[in-house]
C-alpha cells in the first residue's frame, strides 16, 4: 500500500476563491443569456476579467465577443494592447466609438478645459448594447472602488433605458443569480465585485496577466492639473500657464487620457506595484480620476443613467 499522502487542507487561497467565484458567475451568464458581451477597455480590471473569462471556458474559445467603448482619447499603448490581446486569443471585438457618435451628432462634447468624454460614453454604450441586442454586459467594476458601487449587485438589472435603480435592486443570495429580464432590458454583470485593487494586483502577479506598459513606472511628459499628473498627448490642449515636465510615473487606472492622472512612482515590476498598492493611503479613483471628483453622488448619478 502506498504511504498515505498528507491530508489536503481543502482550503483555497483568497485569490483562488475570488477566481472561482468569478468563473462561476461568468459561466452562469454564458449558460443563461443569448448574447453576452464583455467590456474590455484595456485597463487592468478588464484585463483580469478577460483572463478569467478565457480560463472559464478552456480549452474552448471565449463564447462571446468583447466590446471597447472607444472615447477617442486613448493612450496609443492601450489601443495596441487591446489589439494584441484580440489577435493573440482570437477574440471577436466590437468597437463602439465616441468620435463616430460625435461626428454623427448623436452626442455633444462637454465644454471647457479638462472636460472629459466620460459622460458621453454612456449613450454610446447604450446604443451599442441596443444595436447588437446584447442581453448581458460584463463589466470589471469592483465594489471597493466607490460607495455607490459597494451597493450594486453582481447581476445588476437595467431597464430598457439602461437605467440602474439603486432602491429597487433584486436581492442576491448564495450563488443564485437571477438574470431574468424582458426583451430590450439587460443585465450588467460584475464578476470582480468582491475584489480589491490589491487583490487585482496580487492576481496579476500570480497569473502573469498581461497589461499595458502604462501601469509600470516610466518616464513621461506630464502636466499638473488639479493635483494630478496628466499625460501630454495629442488629446489635450495646454493652457498658457501650464508647464510640461518629464516625470517618472505610472498609472493606477486607465480611462479617458484627458482625465486620468498618473502618479509619481518608481514601481517598475509587478512585485514593486503590489508593495506600492499595499502601502498607499489614497484610493485609486480619488488619486487619479477627475470624473469621480464631480460630487459625492457623481458615480451614483452616472450609474443611474446607464454608465458602466
Amino acid at each position: 500500500m502506498p504511504a498515505p499522502s498528507p491530508a489536503p487542507s481543502y482550503q483555497l487561497s483568497h485569490l483562488r476563491s475570488l477566481e472561482a467565484e468569478a468563473i462561476h458567475i461568468i459561466r452562469e451568464v454564458a449558460a443563461e443569456f443569448e448574447r453576452p458581451v464583455l467590456l474590455f477597455s484595456g485597463g487592468k480590471d478588464s484585463a483580469v476579467m478577460l483572463h478569467i473569462a478565457r480560463k472559464a471556458f478552456w480549452p474552448a474559445k471565449l463564447p462571446f465577443a468583447v466590446m471597447h467603448i472607444d472615447t477617442g482619447h486613448n493612450y496609443d499603448e492601450v489601443l495596441a494592447f487591446r489589439d494584441a490581446e484580440v489577435e493573440k486569443h482570437g477574440l471577436r471585438l466590437v468597437v463602439a466609438s465616441v468620435p463616430d457618435a460625435l461626428a454623427a451628432g448623436k452626442v455633444k462634447e462637454a465644454a471647457g478645459q479638462g472636460a472629459t468624454r466620460n459622460r458621453i460614453q454612456t449613450p454610446v454604450l447604450l446604443e451599442a448594447i441596443e444595436e447588437n441586442e446584447f442581453d448581458a454586459v460584463f463589466g470589471g467594476a469592483r465594489r471597493d472602488e466607490e460607495k455607490a458601487r459597494a451597493k450594486e449587485r453582481v447581476f445588476s438589472f437595467r431597464d430598457e433605458f439602461g437605467q440602474w435603480d439603486p432602491k429597487n435592486q433584486r436581492p442576491e443570495l448564495w450563488s443564485l443569480y437571477n438574470g431574468r429580464h424582458h426583451r430590450g432590458e439587460h443585465i450588467r454583470v460584475f464578476p470582480l465585485s468582491n475584489w480589491t485593487e490589491l487583490d487585482i494586483w496580487q492576481y496579476i502577479g500570480a497569473d502573469e496577466v498581461s497589461l499595458p506598459a502604462l501601469y509600470f513606472a516610466h518616464e513621461r511628459e506630464v502636466v499638473q492639473r488639479d493635483g494630478m499628473w496628466i499625460g501630454v498627448t495629442r488629446h489635450i490642449t495646454l493652457g498658457d500657464d501650464e508647464v510640461v515636465e518629464t516625470r517618472t510615473v505610472r498609472f493606477r487606472t486607465i480611462g479617458d487620457a484627458t482625465g486620468t492622472g498618473a502618479v509619481e512612482s518608481t514601481a517598475a515590476t509587478i512585485e514593486q506595484v503590489i508593495d506600492e498598492v499595499a502601502a498607499t493611503r489614497l484610493t485609486e479613483r480619488g488619486a487619479t480620476r477627475a470624473d469621480d471628483r464631480i460630487s459625492e453622488a457623481g458615480m451614483e448619478d452616472r450609474k443611474r443613467e446607464g454608465y458602466f
Binding site: 481543502y10 472561482a20 449558460a31 474552448a60 471597493d144 468582491n194 493611503r281
Partner: protein, 415 residues
C-alpha cells in the same frame, strides 16, 4: 496562504456597529485618507461633533440624506492571514430581507449589543436569522464596556443570557467578546482595561476561527453549469462538464452517478485552465470529464452512486418573503432557481408563519408578506436534486422569482 472569510453584521448605529466596522477598517488600513477626508467634511457639514464612520458605508444619496442604511453594503479589508468581506446590513426588522441576503454567504455573524442595554429583541432576531441561515460561527460583541466601568459582572450577565437563548437555536459555535469600539479595546488589540477577559480580541478571533471544516466535505455534489465543447481540431472530442463543486470532493477514477438519468461512469479528469487537478472540492470551479459518453446538460447533477441527493418535486422549506408588492399565498405559481436548475413551483401550503422575535408559529397565517418567514410546501414542475439546508447550504437553498416582474421575491432553505 491568505484565506477568505465572509462575515455578516447587522445592527443599528446606536449599537456602535458602524464605529466598530470603521475601527476594523481603519486599524487595518483599509480606509484611505481621501475617503476619511470626504467623510470628515460631510460629517462637519451635517453638524456632527464626531466623524460619522457610517458615512463610509452609506453610499447612496438617499442613505446619506436620511441618515440610514437601506441596503447591504459590502466592505473589504485584509490582514496578512485573511481577507475579509463584510456584508453590512441594517438591523431593523423592516430590513430582514437585507439581513438574510447578507447572511446567506457568511462564514461568521457579528452581533453587537450595548452593554448598558443588554440583550434586546433585535439581538435575538439576529441570532435567530444567523441560525436559520446556518452561519457557522456567531460572535456576540458586548460593546460600550467603557460605559459600564469595564464590569466583568455585567459582561457575564449579558453573555449568559445570550447563551441561554442561543441554546434554543441551532448554533454550533458562539463566542462572546467584551469590547469598546470607540476606544478600541478588544477590537484589534487586547484590552488593558479588562484584564479579567482572557479570550482573543475580535480581529484575532476573526483571523483564527477555523472555517475549513464548515463546508460539507462528505457528500459529493456537482451541479452541471455549462458544457464545454471546443469543436477545435486539437480538442475535437473534448466534452467537459463545467461547474462549481457544491459538496464533498471529486478525484479522477471516482465512480459517479448522473442525475436525472441515473447513468454511472468514472471521472476521467478534472480540468482547469492551469492544468488538471488531483482533487476538486467546494468552492472550486472546474470542468469534469467522464470515461463514458453520456448525455449530460446544464441542471444535471453529478454525485456518487452510494451518496445521492434527494430527487423530489415536493419541497418543504423555510421561506423568507422579499417582495414589497405581492404576498406568498397558497396556489401561487412562481419560478424557482435551485443550483443550476430552473423550474416552476406551485405553493401547495403555507404551514405556519414564524414570528422572528418570539419564534411563535402562527398556523392560521393566510400569507407571507415582505420580511416574513414561514414554513412552505412547494410542488415543482421538475425534480430538484437537493439536500437539507442544514447539511449543505448550496444544494439546500433556492430563490423564488415572480414570473411577471422577474424580481427575486423569496429565498428558501430546504428542510
Amino acid at each position: 496562504m491568505s484565506e477568505l472569510l465572509r462575515l455578516a453584521t447587522a445592527g443599528s448605529v446606536d449599537d456602535g456597529k458602524s464605529t466598530l466596522i470603521g475601527r476594523l477598517l481603519y486599524d487595518s488600513k483599509a480606509i484611505f485618507e481621501d475617503q476619511l477626508e470626504a467623510v470628515e467634511a460631510t460629517s462637519a457639514r451635517m453638524g456632527a461633533e464626531y466623524t460619522n464612520l457610517a458615512l463610509l458605508t452609506d453610499g447612496l444619496r438617499a442613505e446619506r440624506e436620511q441618515g440610514i442604511t437601506i441596503d447591504v453594503a459590502y466592505r473589504y479589508f485584509a490582514t496578512p492571514r485573511r481577507k475579509f468581506i463584510i456584508a453590512d446590513t441594517p438591523g431593523h426588522i423592516q430590513y430582514t430581507r437585507n439581513m438574510v441576503t447578507g447572511a446567506s454567504t457568511a462564514d461568521l455573524a457579528l452581533i453587537l449589543v450595548d452593554a448598558r442595554k443588554g440583550i434586546v429583541e433585535q439581538s435575538r432576531r439576529h441570532a435567530f436569522l444567523s441560525s436559520l441561515l446556518q452561519i457557522p460561527h456567531l460572535v456576540l460583541c458586548v460593546n460600550k464596556m467603557d460605559l459600564v466601568d469595564w464590569s466583568e459582572e455585567r459582561f457575564r450577565e449579558i453573555s449568559d443570557e445570550f447563551r441561554d437563548f442561543a441554546a434554543k437555536l441551532d448554533i454550533s459555535d458562539l463566542t462572546t467578546i467584551p469590547v469598546s469600539a470607540l476606544v478600541g479595546d478588544n477590537v484589534v488589540t487586547r484590552s488593558e482595561n479588562m484584564p479579567w477577559y482572557e479570550g482573543a480580541s475580535l480581529l484575532h478571533h476573526m483571523e483564527q476561527v477555523h472555517i475549513a471544516s464548515d463546508r460539507n466535505l462528505i457528500d459529493a455534489r456537482f451541479p452541471v453549469q455549462y458544457v464545454i465543447r471546443p469543436h477545435s481540431a486539437e480538442h475535437h472530442d473534448y466534452r467537459g462538464y463545467a461547474g462549481t463543486v457544491a459538496g464533498g470532493s471529486f478525484k479522477p477514477g471516482d465512480e459517479v452517478l448522473v442525475l436525472p438519468s441515473g447513468f454511472t461512469s468514472r471521472v476521467k479528469s478534472i480540468d482547469t485552465a492551469d492544468g488538471p487537478v488531483d482533487e476538486a472540492y467546494s468552492p472550486m470551479s472546474v470542468a469534469i470529464t467522464l470515461t463514458d459518453e453520456i448525455d449530460i446538460s446544464r441542471g444535471d447533477m453529478i454525485c456518487r452512486p452510494h451518496n445521492q441527493p434527494r430527487v423530489t418535486q415536493d419541497i418543504e422549506a423555510m421561506v423568507c418573503w422579499m417582495d414589497e408588492t405581492s404576498a406568498l399565498t397558497p396556489r401561487r405559481k412562481l419560478a424557482i432557481k435551485h443550483t443550476t436548475r430552473s423550474a416552476r413551483a406551485l405553493v401547495k401550503d403555507l404551514q405556519y408563519r414564524l414570528d422572528v422575535n418570539t419564534l411563535h408559529r402562527d398556523e392560521a397565517a393566510p400569507e407571507l408578506v415582505l420580511n416574513e418567514i414561514g414554513r412552505v410546501t412547494l410542488r415543482t414542475t421538475l425534480p430538484l436534486f437537493c439536500d437539507e439546508y442544514r447539511r449543505n447550504r448550496t444544494t439546500g437553498s433556492f430563490i423564488l422569482i415572480d414570473e411577471d416582474t422577474n424580481g427575486t421575491v423569496g429565498a428558501g432553505m430546504i428542510l
